[in-house]
Symmetry: C4
């Protein structure tokens, strides 16, 4: 099985998800600045989720460049990842409309955590298919960054019930961790 | 006519369908667990339909790898399949919002049955185009799995009016039948 | 400029249009047959528009197989066609929700007519780019079918104000004219 | 990293944006001409935004034909551009539904300005990756047209609060500037 169509399908789903999120930014009826104010938290959560989906698309892209062939396990591991990503627009809207209330903020983190775990499962499925001398396994190394992200989400979820801004800060930090360090930190993190 | 553009178009439609279904998961106004509870049946029917569309995408992908050329009959048989699949978000939302009430649950099964029949028509159109010695015909064999699925849907539809959970269990069973058996059962089912 | 990306973009837009039309089929609140009845005209107009968009995708696909290079005029003629097609979901929903009332039925025909004219403009742009000995010009011939469709829409639009079913019958007839005749009639119609 | 998947992803996002904008054209309940009248400003702003997204798709297409390789900076500059474009449906709907009121008209211009700046950042990222003798730098020249557009948006935004039609006229003029001049003006503008 060729990987081209799996990549194209995943790109399609992520492109749609990143775009339909904006439908949660409901057009307000008023035409003044007051009308925009309640949209601010929705907008902020939209920006955060846009960055997360961009990171997933980017990493997915890199990972499949190192993949060789697709088997049934990889295919379903990929659909499993897309499933959790497909819930991102819902939890983004719920967190934004409720001004980062504890439960929606925790559920947002839970969906990020499950998407992160699904990503690791997909990564393992590709490594298992490649067997010994896997190019992906060599590139990923100990995957400190992937495991650290999962650990940080696991801290953020309960913290949303104490101080929601701790959870929010962790989500922003994890996103920045994937965005910013291109050369120096990356080499240290074995990725 | 090349099959690349037909595959890309079908991928696009299925990617959009699998994604817009999540729009039926309307963002609740409350921020507590109570607000999520009425969404549970909608979520469950979303999971089921996500798996079904994933199975269709997967099977479509495999089938067209064995297709050679596209003619008008194959093209319209493919659009006919996409038509029934395009109704999946509607029946998913209707069944979920009505907590698996009899009629929506039966209509859900009817759309699955019609999509299954459309798939068989498409399969036959490709086999007819290939003529004798068709690679697809050899791969499909007697297609026990495809015919068994259609028969099970035909049982599920009336059973929804007696015990809706029988219908639900059949839908889950058919999905698992396509998901789980990768090696042993498949060889027995001639597929 | 390569034609691959123009084809992929057009496929994407048509795939999305054919899919978001189904969002006009709003999930009813009731769970009985009564709840489905008001959706019948919306469903019928959805089927009609699905077939029309399928025909456009099919014809677009064939036409660009005969195209060589893309210039600015072809690119914008293509976007002009996509613009009118993008209004199909709107007029489909308006006609369906108003049970084929005169004005929406006439406006539906007007959008079909303008899409048809845009298609002819696009066809001419490709023929002009190819110059003498154009492969597309040879394939299209006198394009009786394209011109007849435009003429029939022009008859259907005013007739919607007298007997809306005349307009409806013409829309169905034009769709069938493009769907059904694959060999015999087509050769007579020079296409 | 190959540029094919970045182009396909960008095409997907722009195709979806250009299409979901039409969802702001809400199907009216009435079936007479009166019911259409309040949709006129929404329709006009839809036409304007359709043309703008078409111009961006067109220019994006040309620019990446001159790109060689994709690095992390180009990838994120591209996502940054898609982010601002993703807000176009929102500001289009807001401007249209409020009949070109001052604030929405100014915000529409601000999103166009930010998308234009993002486009220039992306252009610079590609030129930086190509280094000396960049093919894109040679093609773009001094980029009078890009800088003039940004300047015109900067004029339009405050003018929306004095005479909104000045802002509207500037938006139309910039669009026409990119649409119309194919040969003569373009060579003078070094693009």
């Amino acid at each position: 099985m060729s990987k081209g169509r799996l990549e194209a399908f995943s790109d399609g789903v992520i492109a749609i998800l990143i775009t339909i999120m904006v439908l949660e930014l409901k057009v307000p009826h008023g035409a003044d600045a007051e009308a925009l104010r309640p949209l601010l938290p929705v907008f902020l959560s939209y920006v955060l989720s846009f960055v997360y989906l961009g990171i997933y698309w980017n990493n997915h892209h890199h990972m499949f460049q190192l993949a060789d062939r697709i088997n049934g396990r990889i295919l379903w591991a990929n659909l499993h990842l897309l499933f959790w990503l497909s819930l991102v627009p819902f939890v983004t809207g719920w967190m934004g409309e409720n001004h980062f209330a504890p439960l929606p903020t925790a559920v947002y983190g839970a969906v990020l955590l499950l998407a992160g775990v699904a990503y690791l499962i997909l990564q393992n499925a590709i490594i298992a298919q490649q067997g010994q001398g896997s190019r992906l396994a060599a590139a990923v190394g100990r995957d400190v960054k992937g495991k650290l992200s999962a650990a940080l989400y696991a801290v953020a979820i309960p913290s949303a019930f104490f101080h929601r801004w701790i959870a929010g800060a962790i989500y922003v930090f994890v996103a920045l961790m994937w965005l910013v360090p291109d050369r120096r930190i990356e080499s240290k993190l074995n990725r």
